[in-house]
């Protein structure tokens, strides 16, 4: 469904992605883990064309989207709950959700809204509250809900568990699985929280300083000694994985 081939992305002179190859098949949950600054968020943003890949190709459902405008890429059916959530703080929950639905056909709005509220009953209770006054967990729910309102086929999630209590993290992960299994949305997830992310995922990738160094099924990576040392047991990610 999503194919990334040899992608390089620069911020000025900084080469944040140094040739990334990665595939996401329809129906999968794929997790990408890596240390701070590895380039995970950059990859998600590059998929959406902001910033643009300097080299390499990205294609979605067989079509090259490397040079497409961000808003066009999104209209193809890729939604993102970006790093830092980026909900609209002065707008109410319902307005945030409406903005998510801008690219979706209007007749689905009511159904989609109901579905999002079923996934996140908290949002229903707080629909007239301003986004900026929601708690961190609620904001994350809103970011995911807003992304879902555009009826994506591929959902990109950037660190959905960031700063959340373990219980809320579990809740969000349950919802992610539900979205994948019941609504058949393909999910590409970026996480620091490697344990949860790999347990949830069908497949995983490990990124180190702009390169993919390892890949395998979620279980394989979870039991891999190097991954455990670097990302699961509080070890330093200086261990050269994959090398």
């Amino acid at each position: 469904m999503l194919t990334v081939r040899g992608v390089h992305t620069f911020y000025g002179n900084i080469e944040a992605l140094r040739g990334v190859d990665l595939d996401v098949a329809a129906g999968e949950i794929v997790s990408l883990i890596g240390a701070n600054g590895a380039g995970k968020s950059t990859l998600l943003m590059t998929i959406c064309g902001n910033p643009r890949a300097a080299r390499g190709t990205i294609s979605f459902e067989g079509e090259d989207i490397t040079h497409e405008e961000t808003y066009r890429i999104v209209r193809r059916g890729i939604a993102q709950a970006p790093e830092g959530r980026r909900i609209f703080p002065h707008m109410t929950v319902i307005e945030n959700l409406q903005l998510g639905a801008l690219v979706a056909p209007e007749e689905h709005f009511e159904d989609d809204l109901r579905r999002v509220f079923e996934l996140f009953p908290r949002l229903r209770e707080r629909q007239t509250q301003r986004g900026g006054t929601l708690s961190g967990g609620e904001q994350q729910m809103l970011a995911i809900g807003r992304a879902l309102m555009s009826r994506p086929r591929l959902l990109l999630l950037d660190e959905p568990s960031l700063g959340l209590a373990p219980l809320v993290v579990r809740q969000i992960y349950d919802v992610v699985r539900e979205i994948n299994e019941q609504q058949h949305v393909t999910i590409f997830l970026v996480e620091q929280n490697a344990f949860n992310a790999l347990r949830l995922a069908h497949r995983g990738y490990v990124m180190v300083t702009g390169r993919i160094t390892m890949t395998g099924t979620g279980r394989e990576l979870l039991t891999n000694r190097e991954v455990r040392a670097a990302y699961l047991e509080g070890g330093q990610p200086t261990v050269r994985v994959g090398g």
Partner: protein, 432 residues
């Protein structure tokens, strides 16, 4: 009761007041201390010194600051602030009623016994700025694009009507849509180069744009007649009925048609209702478009452009449409201005106008429709009403600005109305 109610810290207050007095000295010395006078008899300009006034200004600043710190700090502001914000809340809760009352008042205003020519004229002026404020509000308040050159579109609208009337004998009603269209086109023209700019940079370019338009009007003599301006612009008619004592051959005047005594007031009142209608259209349009996808996209763009992109919003079109539609209303207001004055010249479209319109929007509370009305009354109505007080009215203007900034730093009505009150209606459960 509270710790702050204890005796104030006098040395600190004295130091602070002294500092304020020093600033006042620096400002007052050149501004108040010297005064240019016409010496008459061809002797040219001379300079007169007014140092006693400098002393007065410095002393006033010192005493004022001292009193503010010694008295107000400890008691008043909290109370004032609280009552102001409570007032704001009352406002928000009753917006619909207040708006209805205000519109009713605006409609009956010319019929009230005390409504003389001066008052109706003033109300027309205020409404012009309300309309301009609402138009600019689309750009600044909704889309969050700081535009310091809004007067350019006002000018384009005014000159469109003036020129079409001059060369093609267009009436006001024929020219109105054209003026709006031209202004919108200029909005897009401005929009293109500034698509990538935000905040300060955007403000500077828009400011330059406003000046460019004015300078073109000033110097493109063959078309715009430069500083002389264009006069004899036809007055708007009431469905073809002219407001003249003696209409031209084969035409019927307003007073003849309705069997009234001719009165100069008819036209004044008609112009008043005309701008009221135009302003209300602007307002209704804004209220409506905020609920449409494009209006939502504007507001979202103001809050977070990157998030907008990842939601599939095309920022280029969104910004251009905000510029175009905001400019269009500026153009409508401009052609009204030309029709009312019967004369346009570049002098009416200086940066000060842009600044005033922006002040109406910002001080009214960005994005607040009611705030714009209140701010227009305070910033345009009051100074005009107290014109007799000459320059002191500018003192009032400055004082009002400072007061608003101190007590309502986010604008008079700093509150964004949600476009949806309750999306999925939540009916209260009937208690069994």
């Amino acid at each position: 009761m509270s710790a702050r109610a204890g005796s104030p810290d006098f040395p600190g207050i004295l130091r602070d007041s002294g500092l304020v007095a020093l600033v006042a000295l620096f400002l007052a010395f050149p501004l108040v201390g010297f005064h240019t006078i016409d010496q008459g008899g061809g002797a040219g300009m001379g300079i007169e010194t007014r140092f006693p006034w400098v002393v007065v200004a410095v002393a006033a600043a010192f005493v004022g600051r001292f009193l503010q710190l010694a008295l107000l700090r400890t008691h008043a502001p909290v109370a004032v602030e609280r009552s102001l914000s409570r007032l704001g809340e009352v406002f928000q809760r009753n917006t619909v009623w207040i708006a209805a009352a205000a519109i009713t008042f605006a409609i009956v205003l010319p019929m009230l016994p005390f409504a003389d020519r001066r008052l109706v004229d003033l109300a027309t002026l205020v409404l012009t700025y309300v309309m301009l404020g609402w138009g600019l509000n689309i750009v600044v308040g909704l889309a969050g694009l700081l535009d310091l050159g809004y007067v350019a579109f006002y000018a384009v609208g005014a000159y469109s009507f003036a020129l079409f009337a001059l060369h093609f004998d267009f009436t006001f009603w024929m020219a109105l849509p054209i003026a709006g269209l031209f202004a919108a086109a200029f909005g897009v023209l401005l929009g293109f180069p500034v698509l990538r700019l935000r905040g300060d940079y955007l403000a500077i370019v828009t400011l330059g744009f406003g000046e460019i338009i004015r300078i073109i009007l000033l110097n493109w003599y063959p078309v715009t007649r430069g500083p002389n301006g264009i006069s004899d612009i036809p007055r708007p008619s009431f469905f073809g009925l002219e407001f003249t004592r003696r209409p031209a051959e084969g035409e019927v005047a307003f007073h003849e048609f309705f069997g009234l005594e001719y009165s100069g007031l008819h036209r004044i009142v008609f112009l008043y209702y005309l701008i009221l209608a135009l302003a209300l259209i602007t307002n209704l349009f804004t209220l409506r478009i905020r609920r449409l996808p494009i209006g939502r996209a504007w507001e979202a763009l103001r809050e977070d452009e990157i998030a907008c992109r990842t939601l599939g919003i095309n920022p280029t079109n969104t910004k251009l449409s905000a510029f175009a539609i905001g400019a269009m209303f500026g153009g409508f207001a401009g052609s009204f201005f030309a029709a009312r004055q019967g004369f346009v010249s570049p002098e009416s479209f200086t940066f000060v106008e842009s600044a005033l319109i922006l002040a109406v929007v910002v001080l009214g509370g960005m994005g607040s429709q009611v705030g714009v009305v209140i701010a227009a009354i305070i910033l345009v109505g009051l100074p005009e009403w107290f014109r007799d007080l000459q320059e002191y009215r500018m003192l009032v203007f400055g004082g009002a600005m400072v007061a608003i900034m101190v007590w309502r730093p986010r604008g008079l009505i700093a509150h964004r109305d949600p476009t949806v009150r309750l999306g999925v209606p939540q009916r209260p459960e009937p208690s069994a």
